[in-house]
């Protein structure tokens, strides 16, 4: 059904194009705009002028003087067929979000932003178009990811991590995906396949942190020209966590390991939860101040929640604020799906490197859990290692689901939430390292 609609739309587009092409070539219209008074024109000239301003004409005969959002030259391909391809790509993203349920909350605004950004003439993603304004308002200055982090902080419960602190190591191991991919990206450049600078390679590798806001934060800081591809890769892979992770988890564990039962989590007092965000922030201040924008915002949200006295603010952070910002963030990222920025060979490499980053992160989390089991103490079920990639709470749910496949009574969800939230802290730290390296 969805394909049918897409086909129908494409057909409509082409038939209009054919119609226009067969029509007699419109007469030259004087391009003198901004006349002091309105001058009467023959009707045929008006029709000709109007036809020139239609989307069909703009796509078939691109305006040679049209510049992109940054005032640079655009190739004819990016002005014509590139736009049609990108519009079809956004339709595909709609299908992924609606039919397949892939992170619809973000993918739909991103895809629709992409659709709007590829409209010729209107210049919606340009400096004065509303997408351009949204982009400059909150993405170019890294504001929106920070606001999202506050909301995520208010939604996060550190209880499972506090009751079993050593699972934080799993969240650290998963960051191997980030740095492994960094090496991969520069190796590709070295071999001459791609042309990434170290900044760009770092921005791409952060996809392995499986943390949307962090990826966007780093991309806008280090490589804004790759933002569209990085954000789309990051969010679509996060949505595909339930598909990507289980085969890796199963391949790396034995049947006995998958059936390990973990000891029940102890109760965590309210005071512990209240002190925790401040403690993390103090540690971040001492060790890595470059990571404090992200960690600070995250812990602010969490502190408001755990304080228990500002229920209204907490509620706003968790619902209205994060929802509002998500709309703007999605549209702003979507504006980077303009054909001239997205339809470049780099995008393909970013997509490929992104999935490598995800897989390496998952695998290293599982392997770390197996290493931890070599030491005395309570055994860790390696299946929760994969939850070390942030992707809260999707990755933890996947651990739980895979665990249940082998033992119906083995509830891993809460155990997996520990590495999961530690993964968020871990990727924020990794992001801080990358930022500090380029300062």
């Amino acid at each position: 059904m969805k394909y049918f609609i897409i086909k129908l739309f494409a057909l409509m587009l082409f038939s209009f194009g054919a119609l226009h092409a067969s029509a007699p070539a419109s007469t030259e219209v004087a391009s003198a705009h901004k006349e002091e008074t309105y001058q009467s024109k023959p009707f045929s000239e008006m029709i000709g002028g109007f036809l020139k301003s239609t989307g069909v004409s703009a796509i078939l005969n691109p305006d040679p003087d049209e510049l992109d959002a940054h005032g640079r030259e655009m190739s004819n391909f990016h002005k014509s067929w590139g736009r049609i391809i990108m519009i079809l790509v956004t339709f595909f993203l709609f299908w992924l979000a609606i039919r397949k349920g892939f992170e619809p909350l973000l993918l739909l605004p991103i895809a629709f932003g992409g659709l709007l950004a590829n409209i010729p003439i209107a210049g919606i993603a340009g400096e004065h178009g509303f997408l351009g304004v949204i982009y400059n308002m909150g993405l170019a200055n890294e504001m929106f990811p920070i606001l999202i982090f506050m909301g995520v902080g208010a939604m996060t419960d550190f209880g499972p991590l506090l009751s079993n602190p050593k699972t934080a190591l799993l969240g650290g191991a998963a960051q191997f995906g980030i740095f492994g991919t960094l090496v991969g990206a520069v190796a590709l450049t070295q071999m001459g396949f791609a042309d990434f600078t170290l900044q760009q390679a770092s921005a791409i590798s952060i996809i392995g942190g499986a943390d949307g806001p962090t990826s966007i934060f780093i991309a806008t800081k280090l490589a804004p020209e790759l933002l569209g591809a990085i954000a789309v890769a990051s969010y679509s892979y996060m949505a595909m966590v339930p598909i990507i992770q289980p085969p890796i988890m199963k391949a790396l564990t034995t049947d006995a390991e998958r059936k390990i039962k973990m000891t029940t989590l102890r109760h965590v007092s309210r005071l512990e939860k209240l002190v925790f965000p401040i403690m993390v922030l103090v540690l971040a201040i001492l060790v890595l101040p470059a990571s404090t924008p992200l960690i600070g915002a995250f812990m602010f949200g969490n502190f408001l929640k755990e304080s228990g006295v500002v229920e209204r603010l907490n509620d706003t952070l968790q619902n209205s604020l994060i929802n509002t910002v998500t709309i703007f963030l999605g549209l702003g990222v979507g504006s980077k799906l303009a054909a001239n920025e997205f339809l470049v060979p780099d995008t393909m490499f970013i997509m490929a490197l992104g999935i490598v980053a995800f897989s390496v992160g998952t695998a290293s989390g599982v392997i770390m859990a197996k290493i931890m089991n070599l030491f005395p103490g309570h055994k860790v079920n390696p299946l929760i290692g994969s939850a070390g990639v942030s992707a809260v709470p999707m990755a933890a749910r996947v651990s739980n689901k895979v665990g249940m496949e082998y033992d119906r009574s083995n509830m891993l969800l809460m155990h997996a939430m520990g590495p999961n939230v530690a993964g968020v802290i871990g990727s924020a730290v990794a992001a801080g390292v990358l930022i500090s390296l380029f300062q």
């Binding site: 506090l162 602190p165 070295q190 770092s202 890595l288 730290v429 390292v433």
Partner: protein, 76 residues
């Protein structure tokens, strides 16, 4: 210049992973210490007594209301 790009990548990896792990290991130690200190000096008050009373109070009130309603219904 060209040749050392991959080595640069490995340097980033070494530094990055070391920082992440150092951060988390310190965090784990701090978490353990904090839990010990807080549970020793500020133990959570046992909530069982209070909540039970509340539930019982509520229950008696509910029962009273139901009885009154039934009575009213039968008489009226």
């Amino acid at each position: 210049m060209e040749t050392n790009l991959v080595i640069e990548g490995f340097k980033f990896m070494g530094l990055g992973m070391a920082t992440v792990f150092t951060f988390l290991v310190i965090l784990i130690i701090m978490m353990n210490m904090m839990s010990k200190i807080l549970n020793k000096f500020f133990p959570e008050p046992k909530p069982s007594a209070g909540t039970n009373n509340n539930i019982q109070n509520n229950n008696t009130k509910v029962i009273a209301a139901i009885t009154a309603a039934i009575k009213y219904h039968r008489e009226g």
